[in-house]
Symmetry: C2
């Protein structure tokens, strides 16, 4: 394979990302393209035209997922799908989501030009929604494709301006006839190309990550109740300082997580104190804990150990503690076969890669439940994402596309079982 | 001395506190009586009438401090002053400030009825302001009495509703002619009776505290700058977590303060995180540190040690740290002679007391700079103060008044040098 085509992948991907990013370009910086907005509609319509112009068969499903298919010549009822989501967060960057769509399109265009028609169908999807940025619901696009979406889950919800989900959907020209029941029978594999949104590939100077699993997550809110007291008149020994207790817990959890190391991460991202005043001993401290790991058992063990440590500290400092788990998502392994295909062609094409996990959630976790799925990552500069400063070097963007081209070639131009 | 009068001190103090608390009774609970408000004016005018009715000579100074004097027969140019501040915090309690005024009045009334006219003048003061609750300025009352107040410090300030200080003062009927230069020549001693606002006396079941010093305070804002990162995709080893660094610092400071013990206290009362979101590693943590001690050198040593520890932790976690000290008040020792007088008569009258320090600031710290000064504390239930739930048992209130009666008797009915 390699760079033998007459079009320059690097230039093509940079140019097309900029083009797609123009739909929803935010005056405050970056891209804001929320589900079913005018910018979103423009982006999907423009992509449909782009796909058509490249000779792909274009269709849109009931809720607005857009597909562009290069028809297979031999096995017409088997499809290799690639792509990602077209929506962004508010003031998002130029890469999260849209890179997977542009890369998928360029890969298919490249394959068509170089190898002609495939044996299986190869298809790119621009999924309607993943971020949950407009409505309090995420993964609307992939949930519909894999048959998990329920109209009742969105029928009552509204955006920040009070617009009901269904009204926005109708305005954009879509409507669900009935809830999808399962993934399309023809879907043989899904590969999603995405920016890493972390700093591992950049730190290790490797352009390609092949994702073996998406982490499971548990999220907790921990509430510590001590006693608010005057900071000057309450001796240290007579205090029930909720902040002191919380800091001991957070210190301990960080030590545990550092000692455990990869692939475990534990984060205390949010803290609220009461009364939160310089001269009052805090009576209440509320903080969140986000724990992730690729193995369910290890995730549970760490969460249990952390809870036990926190309870012991609470007892020692003589404060009350309430630990509330409000998110509990299992890890999702990727398909070993698809990972192997990606890995093999990277070896063959001398692409430098690393096997890794995803610490963030992606549409692929939905696909992986029902169809052989894997992801390819490219580096994110400084790990920055969901931000106008999101950036990936053009040569890394191109390396990712090449890895995808190789994988789609193996899966689409031969009919080995996967 | 003892309870030989025909009026019941306990009943009298409870009844008069309730009466004074009716001026500014807050529908949301407690008492809100801010400087120069209508409630404040009603309170001062009603107190003036109370003082007059008891045969005291009443005067008000330029800014609204109210005095009620029992004239001395022999040494007319020497005055023993007692009292406290009449203003409250918003939704304050029935004891902070007003107990010192009511107790002073009852003590003088008792002495007059029992012993007739004193040799020196004995005077009660209801000071205009101490809390800084309405305007961003505190100790307005005592600053004027001791000659520290500067009109330029208040001429530009406004309350939360935008009312200028001077407009409020004029409306209440007061105006400064010129800045006071020094304390009145006749002032020989000041004794302030106040609720402890801490839980030491209650825990140790002692009704009277004789204050030997008011702590010095240093207040800091510490800003930690790390790097905000995705909580899922940033391995523990690649983080610059500002919250992790802050919690290690706060844990360490609490350990140091606990090991040091009384009279040192160190408090982290306020914390603000950025972005303060469950799934983002905090890039910034800002917290306050309040350190108090009765000895200046020890206060400085602890502050230096804490700063050094914090800097070391910042270096280890690889985050930036900025330590800003924005308050630095020296400890204020009380007069040994006045403390001795109070202690001696407590011994003679078999009142149970404890020598202690004040962890909070009081008008007495202003008086102590220019005139022999001491304070008497009574217990605060659960250490609660600045709150409608502020409470002191009636028998403890009475014990405090008795200690004050004894001290004023010694100082006012004899002319020993102090």
């Amino acid at each position: 394979m390699g760079n033998k085509s007459d079009f320059n992948i690097e230039e093509e991907v940079v140019e097309k990302l900029k083009w797609l990013g123009s739909f929803g370009k935010d005056p405050k910086g970056g891209v804001s393209r929320l589900l079913y907005t005018d910018e979103w509609t423009q982006a999907q319509e423009s992509l449909a035209q782009l796909f058509k112009d490249a000779g792909l068969t274009v269709r849109t499903d009931e809720v607005g997922n857009l597909f562009g298919r290069l028809e297979g010549t031999k096995v017409k009822d088997e499809t290799i799908l690639t792509g990602s989501h077209v929506d962004t967060v508010k003031n998002g960057g130029l890469y999260d989501g849209q890179y997977g769509i542009i890369a998928g399109f360029i890969a298919i265009k490249y394959l068509k030009e170089k190898y002609g028609e495939p044996l299986r169908n190869i298809e790119v999807v621009s999924m309607a929604e993943e971020e949950g940025s407009r409505f309090p619901y995420s993964f609307w696009g992939s949930n519909n494709i894999v048959g998990k979406a329920k109209s009742k889950d969105v029928s009552g919800i509204k955006d920040f301006e009070g617009v009901p989900f269904e009204e926005a959907m109708h305005k954009a020209g879509f409507d669900y006839k009935k809830d999808p029941e399962k993934v399309a029978d023809d879907l043989k594999a899904f590969i999603e190309l995405h920016v890493e949104q972390g700093n591992v590939l950049e730190k290790e100077q490797i352009p390609i990550g092949i994702v073996q699993s998406i982490v499971g997550q548990k999220r907790f809110t921990i509430e510590i109740n001590g006693q608010a007291n005057h900071a000057g008149t309450t001796p240290m020994g007579y205090r029930k300082d909720a902040m002191n207790a919380a800091c001991r817990m957070i210190h301990e959890i960080n030590d545990m997580a550092l000692a455990y190391g990869d692939p475990l991460v534990a984060t205390v991202g949010k803290m609220i104190l009461e009364p939160n005043t310089v001269n009052v001993v805090p009576g209440k401290a509320i903080f969140t804990l986000d724990i992730r790991h690729t193995e369910k058992a290890a995730l549970e063990k760490f969460a249990d150990d952390a809870s036990e440590k926190m309870r012991k500290i609470a007892e020692k400092i003589d404060v009350d503690i309430d630990i509330d788990m409000w998110m509990d998502a299992d890890p999702v392994p990727m398909s070993e076969k698809v990972v192997e295909v990606i890995q093999k062609q990277c070896d063959e094409n001398k692409l430098n890669y690393k096997l890794m996990h995803s610490g963030a959630g992606h549409d692929s976790q939905n696909f992986a439940q029902v169809v052989p799925t894997a992801m390819i990552f490219v580096p994110s500069h400084d790990g920055i994402s969901h931000n106008p400063a999101e950036y990936t070097e053009p040569e890394d963007l191109a390396e990712g596309v090449k890895a995808l081209i190789g994988a789609l070639y193996k899966l689409g131009y031969s009919v080995e079982e996967i």
